[in-house]
């Protein structure tokens, strides 16, 4: 079972590349049990949405 430290790394990586099957499994198992990382994952998506909007000059 991976820890939050590794999970946060995989969440970040997933924003830049497709995760391998093994990585996906490890991450989703962790997310099922970890509210903090679930929130972190959502925050990353929120940050990206705003950054893309800001970055395009909107």
């Amino acid at each position: 079972m991976i820890k939050c430290k590794e999970a946060s790394w995989l969440i970040s990586a997933s924003l830049d590349r497709a995760l391998t099957m093994a990585e996906q499994v490890r991450l989703s198992m962790h997310l099922m049990l970890c509210g903090n990382c679930k929130n972190f994952s959502r925050q990353m998506a929120q940050l990206r949405a705003v950054a893309r909007q800001v970055g395009s000059g909107d």
């Binding site: 820890k3 970040s12 830049d16």
Partner: protein
């Protein structure tokens, strides 16, 4: 009809954008100046489909990439030696057992609105604490939407370095937003 005044009015916004990415007043000035000149020259091609700001930003983005390519040699000199190790970085956020030191809150609609409104302020402040190349990688990836291969090429780093920089930038920026809000509004 696009007037020089309308273009000039966007200078402060463009300056902010350029400064956030280049962190060098002279280079940012130059990129913005070139952008405004290019815009004036091609004002006739402005379709009016997008806002003036969006149009100018798209020109500026190309100028910024040009600037980074030109600067690559100088940026390269800045080594990774003065940056903290992976373990040191992780220690800032995670306890020895690999769990978060602080609980990660859920950001709702109010926070989403705040991020949008405060993005530049927070990013400017926050990126001062990041190595220059890390801040650049973040802007290229998240603001400009470049893919990893392009970023590696523009900054002359390996894909692994690129992932590390983006991870650190995201972790730091998230923390900056959290600290900002908790500092002001902790119940």
């Amino acid at each position: 009809m696009l007037t020089p005044e309308m273009i000039e009015a966007e200078r402060p916004y463009l300056m902010r954008y350029a400064l956030a990415q280049l962190r060098d007043k002279g280079a940012a000035d130059e990129a913005v100046q070139e952008t405004l000149l290019a815009a004036l020259e091609s004002a006739g091609s402005f379709s009016g489909k997008s806002s003036v700001r969006t149009w100018l930003t798209s020109i500026l983005r190309f100028k910024l990439i040009d600037t980074i390519r030109r600067e690559k040699k100088e940026v390269l000199v800045e080594s990774f030696d003065d940056e903290v190790s992976d373990d040191e970085f992780a220690d800032l956020f995670f306890a020895q057992d690999g769990h978060w030191r602080e609980p990660v809150r859920s950001w709702g609609a109010p926070e989403a609105t705040l991020i949008a409104r405060e993005f530049w302020d927070v990013f400017e402040r926050c990126s001062q604490a990041m190595p220059r190349r890390t801040a650049m990688a973040f802007v290229l990836r998240e603001l400009q939407g470049m893919d990893i291969a392009e970023i590696c090429k523009a900054l002359d780093v390996t894909a692994t370095n690129c992932s590390v920089m983006l991870y650190r930038a995201r972790m730091s920026l998230r923390e900056c937003f959290e600290i900002g809000w908790l500092g002001g509004a902790k119940a």
